[in-house]
Structures are given as structure tokens and as C-alpha cells.
Amino acid sequence: MARSYSVFCDGVAAQSSATVPQAQIVATTAVRPKIYDLMLGSASTPADQAASWVIKRSTTASTGGTAVTPSPIDPGDPASTSTAMVAPTMSAPTLTVVLLAWAQNQRATFRWVAAPGKELVCPATANNGLTLMNPTLTSAFNISATIEFEE
């Protein structure tokens, strides 16, 4: 049975880059990570700023960011096989197809939920991943995000 994990980042500056990721979940040859829930908002001073967001497939793993240990949703589960990393100072991975795209105002809290069996899936291949990108941003603000995935 699939096990669920959560990756959380709080108060991280929105990346505003088409090449450098905001966050990345990286698979191994043993598991296929599947994102089924994503929440994104901002705890910065409220302002009318806009940002676009996408989740893309990536075929190389970023380096240099802040490694985040995915937390098991069920505390009885073992540590996740997939790894995660969040901005800042991540290196640019090789990006491929867009899997999900949206735009949101800084004042809004956004959530995307997949129906069971319709998750964003990454192949069980080393260094392949699902990458959260922030291509455009009108002005800098910090974000808080939670990405939940199963493997």
C-alpha cells in the first residue's frame, strides 16, 4: 500500500525564475512519487502581488538547496525513499513537460487536490523528479507551501 508523506517549507522567498526551482521531489529507482495535494500561500505582509506557478517534470536533481525530510503522514511509516529540497540556492535542473499550472494573488491561499488515481506521477528513475517552479512574480514575497505525495 502506498505511503503518504508531506514536504513543508515556510517563509521561503518566491523564486521568480523560469529555470531555478522553488521545490523539488526526487524519485529513486525503487519508488514512483505521486503528488496528490498541494497548498501554497503567503505569510508576508498582505499585498496585491501576483505570481504564476507550475509543476514540471525534471530529469536531473537540483543541488545546493535546503534538503527537507518528507514527514510520514502516518507516524508509523518508515522514512520516505524519495528526497525533497526547497529554495533558496537550488541549481537549475533539466525540466520537461508542465504537469500543472496556475496563477495566484499573494493574498490568496491556493490548494490543488487530485482525485484518487489521478496524481502527478514521477517515474521510478534516479534523479527524476517533480519540480515546483515560480516563473513570474510581480514583487518579492515569502511563501509557505505544503506538498503531499505518496510513494
Partner: protein, 77 residues
């Protein structure tokens, strides 16, 4: 058509998404938007409309091909 995902803003569902059976990406389908979409007769589902997704290669098959190519490159089998 049954939704495959949903956008929720400030606690209210504002849109539903469909999943492309070929690339696995989710998109918001708006009737009359003029955006190119296709119907895959084999998958019985709407594709995202990218030309790369016109040919029927289901996402499960694509994932297997990527995994197979990696294992072949790494282990030569």
C-alpha cells in the same frame, strides 16, 4: 465528465481539472475557451492538446519506457 482534480482558493473550489491520459498533466477545461484539446479514442479521455500528446502513449506506458531506458543505460539489460 468526472473531475480528476480541483483548484481550491481560500477554501472554495473554483475550478476542476482533468488529467491528460498521455502526459499525466492536469489542465482546466473551459467550454468555449478555444484551446486545442483532443479526444483519445483508445483512452476514452480528453488530452491536454499538446501535439506531443496526440499519439496514444498512455502515461503508464511512458513511465515504463523512462524506467526501462534508465535501467538499460545503467545495467545494460
Amino acid at each position: 465528465m468526472r473531475e480528476h482534480g480541483g483548484f481550491i482558493v481560500d477554501g472554495k473550489q473554483v475550478a476542476t481539472t482533468l488529467q491528460c491520459p498521455h502526459c499525466g498533466g492536469h489542465f482546466v477545461s473551459v467550454q468555449g475557451s478555444g484551446k486545442r484539446r483532443c479526444w483519445c479514442l483508445k483512452c476514452c479521455a480528453v488530452t491536454c492538446g499538446r501535439p506531443e500528446c496526440d499519439e496514444c502513449v498512455p502515461i503508464e506506458k511512458q513511465l515504463e519506457l523512462i524506467e526501462k531506458a534508465y535501467k538499460s543505460a545503467m545495467y545494460g539489460n
